[in-house]
């Protein structure tokens, strides 16, 4: 039964992918290439590339892609549901605990410890995104020669718009994408 297999495979991916983002990739690879032969390695690399080009988590994108390929649109829905089912259950339990014990000194202490860590994690994700956008490299070492001046200009304008006007993140993303088409496709 292919639907059941899709659901169970992506359920395992969803259940064991702690840490987010690309931490899930080895798990997905194991399920879709080695255990089930649903994708070739080339297709797997393709879907990761597509994931970077589209919104949404790589785990969800891969579930949808594999599901469609193996069993059409019902397959994509079932694989995606399998992938998020563990999250739904575990997150709701944690949320219950959080709202029940919030206000208790021990819980507040833990949360006060977690907040600066979360800011640091967002900052580190931000640095990766920043380096990719400016230099085309995800981490150090970077070479100043790779600096994309158009990206720098877009970044500075975007930052100024966010901080000095009422424009929100979505406006700035759409605007920079539009200017991207204008500069890289139409002009260059």
């Amino acid at each position: 039964m292919v639907y059941l297999k899709l659901f169970w495979s992506f359920f395992q991916v969803g259940l064991f992918s702690f840490g987010g983002g690309y931490a899930a990739l080895p798990l997905i690879e194991e399920q879709v290439i080695h255990q089930n032969n649903w994708l070739s390695s080339t297709e797997f690399i393709d879907i990761i590339t597509i994931s970077q080009m589209t919104p949404g988590p790589v785990a969800i994108n891969t579930s949808t892609f594999v599901g469609t390929k193996v069993a059409g649109i019902p397959g994509s829905v079932i694989a995606t549901l399998g992938c998020i089912a563990p999250s739904c259950i575990i997150v709701v339990i944690l949320a219950k605990v959080y709202y029940k014990y919030k206000g208790i000194p021990l819980m507040d202490g833990i949360l006060q410890g977690l907040r600066p860590a979360v800011v640091a994690l967002i900052a580190s994700a931000g640095l990766t995104i920043f380096l990719t956008a400016m230099f085309g490299a995800e981490s150090f070492p970077i070479s100043l020669g790779d600096l994309n001046w158009i990206s720098v200009a877009l970044f500075l304008v975007g930052l100024a718009l966010l901080r000095k006007t009422k424009l929100g993140p979505i406006h700035v993303m759409m605007l920079s994408g539009f200017v991207g088409i204008l500069i890289y496709y139409v002009i260059l």
Partner: protein, 190 residues
């Protein structure tokens, strides 16, 4: 807050829109959530949002999905979390299903590449802006311990490549220890 059809529709549309714009990794959901749920709708405050991100990061699964589930749960229980999760998975589900029929053409399309290259810079601005706000808030509180933890956690994540879960465990433990030692003894704590 009264939970009528309009409320659920707002929750659904908000999570749908946020998910449709979460390009470039799960943490991009944070500035989008801050704008929509903290500033515009005022459903949660900023501290609570950081807590939700911490919970989302501590559970398995994509952080953007997890964070939406918690916002939904916070606003309207299990039903809210279901509506939020449907809103969140619909954009990638629909987009990838459509693209999967012509993904090679999509991948090699020069207009798409130009759009994404431009958008990357915008996404960088969005996430850097939210980091400036959040880090400034922690620094302005002028407590040594949180500032120190923020800096060390950043170094651990970016330079030492230490697993995110381990960083969260250590910081949570430090926070628990501090609260046990005396909840009012925080100013100048080191």
């Amino acid at each position: 807050m009264e939970k009528d059809i309009k409320f659920y529709w707002t929750l659904f549309l908000s999570t749908l829109t946020l998910s449709a714009f979460t390009f470039g990794g799960g943490y991009v959901i944070v500035p989008l959530m801050q704008k929509r749920f903290v500033k515009e709708l005022q459903w949660i405050d900023e501290e609570e949002m950081l807590d939700l991100v911490a919970i989302g990061q501590s559970s398995p699964g994509p952080i953007a999905v997890n964070a939406s589930i918690i916002v939904g749960y916070r606003m309207a229980g299990i039903l809210g979390s279901l509506i939020a999760v449907i809103g969140t998975i619909l954009p990638p589900l629909v987009i990838i299903t459509i693209i999967s029929f012509f993904y090679q053409a999509f991948r090699d399309n020069p207009v798409v590449s130009a759009l994404l290259l431009g958008m990357q810079a915008g996404i960088a601005a969005v996430i850097v802006s939210v980091v400036i706000d959040m880090a400034a808030k922690i620094i302005k509180a002028k407590q040594v311990l949180p500032i120190l933890m923020m800096v060390l956690a950043f170094i651990a994540a970016i330079l030492l490549n230490i697993n995110i879960i381990i960083i969260l465990l250590i910081c949570g433990a430090v926070g628990a220890y501090t609260s046990l030692r005396g909840p009012h003894n925080q100013k100048g704590d080191s």
